[in-house]
C-alpha cells in the first residue's frame, strides 16, 4: 500500500512534469500560407512575394522562431485565376495554416477570401488594390500592405480641398482606363468636400496642341487643374497653361510622378503636384531587404516584394505580440501594434487597410520631386 502511494505520487509528479513540459515546449511549427500567381503569365507579380516570405521566415527561424516555434511556409499557386484561387485556399485550410500572405490579384483574392473567412484564417495581401475588399466590411479577416486604388484620388482631392483650399477646379483626363478612373474619383471626392468641378473633360492623347482646352480652362475661371493620365500630355498642358500666363496649381497622379516628366517639361514642371507611392528608397529596412534578396537569389527583387516582406513581418510580429495563434488575438494585434517594415512603421485600420504607408503628395521643386509631409 505504501509502495502504491509512492508510485502514485511519482506518477502524478511525472504527469505534471510532462504536462507542463508540453505547455512550455510546444515546438510544432507555425504554418503560414503563401498564395498567388507562381506560374502563368502573371507569375512575375507573385513570385517576388514567395521570395520575401522565405527571407523573413528564414531570418525568424535563424533567431529561434516565434516563442520557440519555427515558421513553416506552405506555398500554393493560383495563377491569378479565381477558380484556382479557391482550390489553393481549400488546400491551405486543410494544411492548418494560421495566416496567408496573398493572394496577388484582386479577383483571385476575392474568391479565396470567403473560404479563409469561414475557417478564421487571417489573410494579408501585398498587392490586391480593389477598394471594396476592405471597404465593404465583408471580410474582417482581410488586411493589405498596399493602398487601395482610390487612395490616390482621395489623397489628391483632400490635398486640393484642405491644403491648397481650392474652390473651383477643372478636371481633365486622357480618356484611358487609368487616367479617366483617377479623374472620376477625384471629381467625386472633391465634390464631397465642397469643391466645385467647373470642367470635366477628356482630351486626345498625343495631340500636338491643347491650346483650345487651355483657353477653356481659362474661361472657366478655376483655381486649379487636375490631370488624370500620363506625363507626355501633362507636360504639354502645363507648358501651354504657363505660356498663357495661367499660374494655377496643377495636380496629377503617379503617371506624372516620373522623372521623365521633369526632363521633358523642364522649367514648366516647377510647382506641379503629383501623388505617388511613398518613397521607401531611403528606408534602411528596405535597403536591407533588397540586399538580402540580391545575396540569396542573385537579382533585384520584383513587383510587390517590399509589400510582401512587410506583410510577413506584420503577421509574424502580431503572432509574437499576441503570444498565440488565436485568430481574435492575432487580428487584434495586427490592428493595435505598429511594426517596423521596409515600407515604414505600419499598422492596420479597422477595415484592414494599411496605416503608415500609401500615397504622398509630391511637388516639383528645383527640378526634383519632393515629398510633402
Amino acid at each position: 500500500m505504501k509502495r502504491n502511494v509512492v508510485i502514485l505520487a511519482v506518477m502524478s509528479v511525472c504527469i505534471a512534469l510532462v504536462a507542463t513540459g508540453c505547455q512550455k515546449k510546444d515546438t510544432s511549427a507555425i504554418k503560414i500560407g503563401v498564395a498567388g500567381a507562381h506560374s502563368g503569365d502573371l507569375a512575375s507579380y507573385g513570385l517576388p512575394s514567395v521570395n520575401a516570405a522565405k527571407l523573413v521566415a528564414e531570418a525568424i527561424n535563424a533567431k529561434g522562431g516565434i516563442n520557440g516555434r519555427k515558421i513553416e511556409l506552405v506555398i500554393e499557386d493560383d495563377q491569378c485565376k479565381p477558380e484556382l484561387a479557391t482550390n489553393a485556399a481549400s488546400k491551405l485550410v486543410s494544411s492548418n495554416v494560421v495566416a496567408v500572405i496573398g493572394h496577388i490579384c484582386s479577383g483571385a483574392t476575392k474568391s479565396a477570401l470567403g473560404i479563409y473567412k469561414d475557417s478564421k484564417i487571417i489573410t494579408i495581401s501585398p498587392s490586391a488594390t480593389n477598394p471594396p475588399l476592405t471597404q465593404s466590411g465583408e471580410y474582417p479577416n482581410f488586411f493589405r500592405t498596399i493602398a487601395p486604388d482610390d487612395a490616390q484620388a482621395k489623397l489628391a482631392a483632400t490635398f486640393l480641398a484642405q491644403t491648397l483650399k481650392l474652390k473651383t477646379i477643372a478636371v481633365l483626363h486622357d480618356k484611358g482606363d487609368y487616367g479617366k478612373g483617377f479623374a472620376e474619383l477625384v471629381k467625386q471626392f472633391a465634390e464631397e468636400q465642397g469643391v466645385t468641378v467647373a470642367l470635366f473633360e477628356g482630351v486626345n492623347p498625343g495631340a500636338p496642341d491643347y491650346s483650345a482646352v487651355v483657353n477653356k480652362i481659362g474661361n472657366a475661371k478655376v483655381d486649379g487643374v487636375v490631370w488624370g493620365g500620363y506625363h507626355p500630355e501633362a507636360s504639354k498642358l502645363v507648358q501651354q497653361m504657363k505660356d498663357k500666363g495661367m499660374n494655377i496649381p496643377f495636380i496629377s497622379d503617379d503617371g506624372v510622378k516620373d522623372n521623365t516628366f521633369i526632363e521633358v517639361a523642364g522649367k514648366y514642371a516647377e510647382g506641379v503636384y503629383a501623388t505617388g507611392p511613398m518613397d521607401t528608397t531611403s528606408n534602411p529596412l528596405a535597403i536591407m531587404a533588397i540586399e538580402e534578396h540580391k545575396k540569396k537569389f542573385g537579382e533585384e527583387p520584383g513587383a510587390f516584394f517590399l509589400n510582401a516582406y512587410a506583410a510577413t513581418l506584420a503577421i509574424t510580429n502580431a503572432i509574437a505580440k499576441a503570444g498565440s495563434t488565436d485568430y481574435d488575438k492575432v487580428s487584434a494585434a495586427l490592428r493595435s501594434e505598429y511594426v517596423d517594415t521596409p515600407l515604414g512603421k505600419i499598422s492596420f485600420d479597422q477595415k484592414g487597410d494599411v496605416i503608415g504607408f500609401g500615397f504622398s503628395v509630391f511637388q516639383v521643386q528645383n527640378g526634383k520631386y519632393v515629398e510633402l509631409k
Binding site: K175, V203, P208, S211, N215, P232, K236, V264
Partner: protein, 300 residues
Amino acid sequence: MDYFLKLFLSGTAKGSIYALIALGYTMVYGIIQLINFAHGEVYMIGGFTALIFGGFFYTMGMPVWMVLLLSVILAVLFSAAFGFTIERIAYRPLRNKPRLSALISAIGISMILQNFVLLAQTEKYLSYPSYLPEFAFLQPFRQYINSTQFIILVVTAIIMIFLTILIKFTRIGKAMRATAQDKYMAQLVGVNINQVISITFIIGSALAAVGGVLICSYMGQINYYIGFVAGIKAFVAAVLGGIGSIPGAVLGSFILGWTESLGTGYISSDYEDAFAFIILILILVLKPDGILGKNQKQKV
C-alpha cells in the same frame, strides 16, 4: 467675344500645324496620286535630326540663331535624303503596278521608320529645346497667340506661296504639272519624269523637316510616334481641302483646326475627333473632291 477670338486663334495655330504637314502630303499626291503614309515619319525624323545636331552645336557654344539655322539646314538635308531614298526603294519599282501596291509599301515604310527611330534612338519622350526667338511685341497678346504659334503661321504662309509659285510659274513646276496630267505623254515630249518625281519627294520631305522642327519646338517634346498621330490629322486636312491642291491643303487644315478648337471650347474636347470627322464627311458628301479639289473625270 473675347473667348471666341481666343478659340479662333488657337484653331488657327492648330490649323497651321496641320497645314505644315498636309502641304507635303498633298504635293506628292498631286503629282503621282500616291498617299505617302511615310510623310509623317519624315517629319518626325526631321525633328529628331534637328534635336541631335542642335544639341551638338549648342554644346559647342554657338549662338542660338546659328544653332537654329544649322540644325534646320541639316534636318532639311537629312529628311530630303530620306524622301529621295524612300521613293527610289519603295515607290519607283511599283510605279506601274496597281496603286494599292504603292500604298501598302508606303504603310510598310512608315512602320519601318518608326521602329528604326525607336531602336536607334529611344522609346522615351525627349524634351525638345526651343531655339526659336520670343517676340517682345507679342508679349501683350500671349493669351491669344505665342511667338512659336506666330512663327508657324508665318512659315506656313510662306511655304504655301512658295509652292504655288514653284508649281505655277517655274520650269520644274510646268514639268510637275505635265507629269501629274499624263506620265507617258510627258515622257514623250521630253520630260524626265523620274527626275521630276524625285524632286517632288525632295521638296516635300524638306518641308516636312521644317515642320518637324517648328512643331516639336512648339510641343516641347519628341517621340518616335509623333509622326503617325500628326500624319493622320494632316491627311484628313488634305482630303478636306481637296487632295492635290496646295491652297486646298492649307484651307482644309484651317477648317479642321477651327472646328476642333471651337468644338472643344463650346461643346467638349471629348468629341474633338468626332467634330473633325463629321466635318470631313459633310464636305465629302457635298463636294466629293474636297473644297478646292478639281472635279476630275476618271478615264475608263
